[in-house]
Symmetry: C2
Subunit: 306 residues, 2 copies
């Protein structure tokens, strides 16, 4: 059975929307629309404006097409079960009943999801981990938060699961969260850029640091190695507790490709014991369309369970 | 619908078996049998003898009763999906196809499970965490391994999930597994007994150390506090990654009751941040019948999915 979903990924600066044909093994975007994310004077007004803009995108994508359901994903903390945007630092809202607000304006079943978890669902069903059931998808950007799938189903833990970036791995460096030792204090793309600047005084993005690693810059290599080491220790904790079959690395940082995966695989392999499942380590395949494709999957799963 | 399951919990020294009436909200043992666990010259022979003994227990419990399915749980590493006893240090076997071996001798549907995970399932459905969907059940004994339930379903990770005892929390002390810093190197009942003896030269069980804590023994208090601290750090990692609603503490160590839960709750609460789910901390309710009740649940779930 094929269903048509309208999927909207609400980002901090841009909203991506697509009409997507979904069946059991595929999600095919038929048409895309992009719009700037509207901003209000405060979080509540931003939420109203976003809901109105999503409704317009949905109306536009329905012209001349049949649609069965709508999936909308947003950043920050999201409670999928209750359909609530719990908190978004970026969009400024807290505790907004987004699903109900959307349902008032849209006469189709609406699912609300979390951008990272929805993207993880897409990678697990359609991307780098397709065919696998116990999967962790880890986008590494400014922060590090994982989407967890167990038995093929997303685990959201009331919106709190997967905060791998804030596991204390003992390095003692301060994190933006107020603690010390967090994985993301060394291993996020923001941390790599910051730490390179601290060593050298030179301002570079994490992608530029990666190029410098390839070019043999010893400061870049030292920062990179510390990032890989921190990430490996974080993944070891994840493997010890959750035992995924496959870990998918995504986000800006993973665009370094082999420069990240090869030393990370070696470092992790060297730490695994007999009581650990040995996970595959893969690079994400769906890029910045993952959130939208995941929203489409959530929309049609919502259909099946309603 | 009520189904009758025959449940067998194969322990290192004793097998507990029961005829159990199971419905959606209840598992009522109607009759119990206990037998010593048979031992062969090697693991393969032990597996043969255990299978034969289980078949005899099943036959005996079926006399005069109707039975719909059989659930058997064993210790060590277990792959439930493939029905294999992957490894048991205690019983000496590795890679034995226990479910198929049992099915050859028993003309009822047979499910194979893991003793700790089955016990966790029972606590989550019938015991301390009933009504909750994201649950960790943590029996603390010689070692520390968790049963994880997400969305009400056991997550086994191919038999490897939940090795909380071997998360490195940075204390640097050696663990029996060959690494350092593991939670169970400070917080298992074996560790508490060993560390008390190291400080004082006096041999005491963890239960006796708990009594000494209540009596004001400063060495006992120091060892206890280190155990609680290590356990709190382990639980923090678990909460950061898996975000359970409820953590159930069981096993011999949890018989200390409030002496364990009160300082543990305080210590954990003091470490939680805004991005953490705040879990309930409960003591296990089902005691040493949890494994058998869980085996009965597995047996009847097997029925529903076959």
């Amino acid at each position: 059975m094929t269903a048509n979903a309208i999927a909207v990924d609400v980002g901090g600066t841009e909203m991506k929307a697509a009409l997507v044909a979904v069946d059991r093994h595929r999600a095919e975007p038929l048409r895309w629309l992009r719009r700037p994310t509207p901003r209000g004077a405060d979080g509540a007004e931003t939420a109203e404006l976003v809901v109105a803009a999503v409704a317009e995108l949905v109306a536009e994508l329905r012209v001349g097409a049949s649609a069965d359901a709508v999936g909308v994903v947003v950043p920050g903390a999201v409670d999928e079960d209750r359909g609530i945007g719990v908190y978004s630092a970026n969009l400024g809202w807290s505790d907004v009943p987004l699903r109900d607000m959307l349902a008032e304006r849209i006469d189709l079943p609406v699912s609300l999801g979390h951008d990272v978890r929805a993207g993880g669902l897409a990678e697990a069903r359609l991307g780098a981990a397709r065919g696998m059931r116990d999967v962790v998808v880890l986008p590494i950007g400014t922060g590090i938060a994982a989407a967890l799938l167990f038995g093929g189903q997303l685990h959201s833990g009331g919106g709190f699961a997967g905060e791998l970036g804030h596991v204390d791995i003992g390095h003692g460096e301060p994190c933006g969260c107020g603690r010390t030792g967090c994985v993301e204090a060394l291993a996020s793309s923001a941390a790599v850029a910051r730490r390179y600047q601290e060593r050298t005084g030179v301002e570079r993005s994490s992608a530029e640091v990666a190029s410098a690693v390839r070019a043999g810059d010893p400061d870049a290599q030292a920062v990179w190695q510390e990032a890989v080491d921190a990430l490996a220790k974080g993944l070891l904790v994840l493997v010890t507790i959750a035992a995924p079959e496959c870990i998918v690395l995504g986000g800006g940082f993973a665009q370094a490709g082999d420069l990240l995966t090869e030393p990370l695989r070696d470092r992790l392999d060297g730490m695994l014991a007999a009581y650990h499942r040995r996970p595959r380590l893969e690079l994400a395949e769906l890029g910045d369309t993952a959130g939208c494709l995941g929203a489409a999957l959530l929309a049609t799963e919502g259909l099946r369970t309603k």
